[in-house]
Amino acid sequence: MNAELLLQNLKALKDTFEQEEQNLTQLDRVIGDGDHGVNMLRGFKAVDEKVSGTTISEVLKSTGMTLMSSVGGASGPLYGFSFVKMAGVDEDEITSDNLKSFIDEFKNAVATRGKVTGGEKTMYDVLLKASKHLEEGQPLTNEVLQQFADETKELEATKGRAAYFKKDSVGHIDPGAQSMVYVLNAISKDV
């Protein structure tokens, strides 16, 4: 995937989040404060309007800065900082050979900023599993990513706002894990 296609995929997330706003808000309402859909849509509307770049690195950095200054909440710095970090990978294209470097950079950035490990019912769980999946030589597909998000259903949250609800958080998909499916899909679907 070249820079142009990546830019197109990232801008198209505006439509995805327009469609999924209600769904994400509903997920967040159960175990959070119900604004994840609104925040992600605001962020990717800004991405659609403002992001530019002719290299992979420029597109990722511009996306990161835009998310950081428009999303807010916890997802703003987590997504924003991670895209800026991914810009450091500096490849001409995202390919099946180097995709894991991007995902790992993403994963490490979320771990650092969010002070998360794994199994805590957060967006990080999807990243961790995506990285392992690539390591095993398996391709990332939308279905696989969705399955990783679905698996957060069974977890009891120990991080983020959902952690306040302890056992009551079981049985619901983490909203951050769900938005991560769309974001990772945009980065990996044309690889």
Binding site: D35, V38, G72, G73, A74
Partner: protein
């Protein structure tokens, strides 16, 4: 959804324009940053903020004796680091800036990133994190709620009395350790940006241990008369606070009428007398709200002479009297 508003995406911007109309001592710089017009020339500057929806917090406490700037995020959403940095740069003095952060993951991350950026630009910057909500067991995870307003006032007093940044941070952190709050709701709030209630609550139920972002409480109970609710909340608080001499805040969650706040004050006073509590000061009103949630929180601070002095010191904020 019925709300007195124009566009959901413009809700916060419209609100801030309105605050400017209502209070001529503040101005708005750089989208959503409320600052004092009359800036401090010396003394540590204080910056706080968080999501909107907690009015009068935080913009209402931008005034002499309290905050120098409030950074207002979208409804219930932490502001972004660039806006926080704008606030820091605008109010910073040579003595530095203290950030007062409520312990919510988003607030902590965004404020810490702003602090790092400010330090890179050579501004002396420190932060404190308020964790007063005892409805969360693990002390490190406790949310920052109504007690944050006491922190604004105490830090303002220390700054006005010439303490330096290190001293203020130290004193405020010790103070934060001692503040304990718990809240409850009988009706959830209607969030303008989503058009949805924060949670569902049957007519005969109440939520105990709510946060201030419209999120559910920690458990539900059948509704009780208010004296029993006070007893329930005080039982929780007294597990943490054994002192008998106290400073108290009874905080309305936004849609609790003054009549009901007065009723709460009466039964709180009865409780204090029955339990031989010596209440040195009790403030009652809307300080840190959750939009139009109906309910209240009680905040206890073990009495110290300096705290009482700080809370009685003058401020221009009409919301802290």
């Amino acid at each position: 959804m019925k709300k007195l508003m124009k566009e959901k995406t413009n809700f916060v911007a419209d609100m801030l324009e309105g605050i400017k109309v209502m209070d001529h001592s503040v101005e708005i710089i750089s989208d959503n940053v409320v600052v004092r017009k009359n800036l401090k020339s010396k003394g540590v500057a204080l910056v706080s903020g968080g999501g909107s929806g907690h009015e009068p917090a935080h913009a209402g406490f931008v005034s002499e004796g309290m905050l120098d700037a409030a950074v207002c995020g979208e409804v219930f959403t932490s502001p972004t680091p660039d806006k926080i940095l704008d606030a820091i740069k605008h109010v910073a003095t040579e003595e530095g800036v203290l950030l007062i952060i409520k312990n919510y993951a988003g607030d902590v991350m965004n404020f810490e990133m702003a602090q790092e950026m400010a330090e890179m630009e050579g501004i002396q910057c420190q932060s404190v994190i308020v964790r007063d909500d005892i409805s969360i067991d693990n002390e490190q995870d406790r949310r920052g709620v109504a007690g944050t307003v006491f922190v604004h006032k105490y830090a303002g007093y220390l700054s006005d009395n010439g303490y330096n940044l290190t001293e203020i941070k130290e004193k405020v952190e010790a103070f934060i350790e001692s503040i304990k709050t718990i809240g409850m709701a009988i009706y959830p709030c209607l969030v303008p940006t989503t058009g949805q209630y924060g949670f569902d609550l049957d007519d005969e139920k109440m939520e105990i241990g709510i946060g201030i972002h419209g999120e559910r409480g920690i458990y539900q109970e059948n509704i009780e008369p208010v004296d029993d609710i006070i007893k329930r909340l005080m039982n929780e608080l007294e597990k943490e606070v054994s002192e008998k001499e106290l400073i108290v805040m009874i905080n309305g969650m936004g849609a609790t009428p003054d009549s009901e706040l007065a009723v709460i004050a009466k039964y709180f006073n009865d409780y204090a007398i029955n339990h031989k509590l010596d209440i040195k000061k009790c403030i009652v009103g809307n300080y840190m709200t959750a939009l139009d949630m109906q309910g209240f929180s009680i905040t206890l601070v073990p009495y110290q002479e300096e705290y009482l002095k700080a809370f009685n010191a003058p401020t221009e904020s009409k919301y802290f009297k």
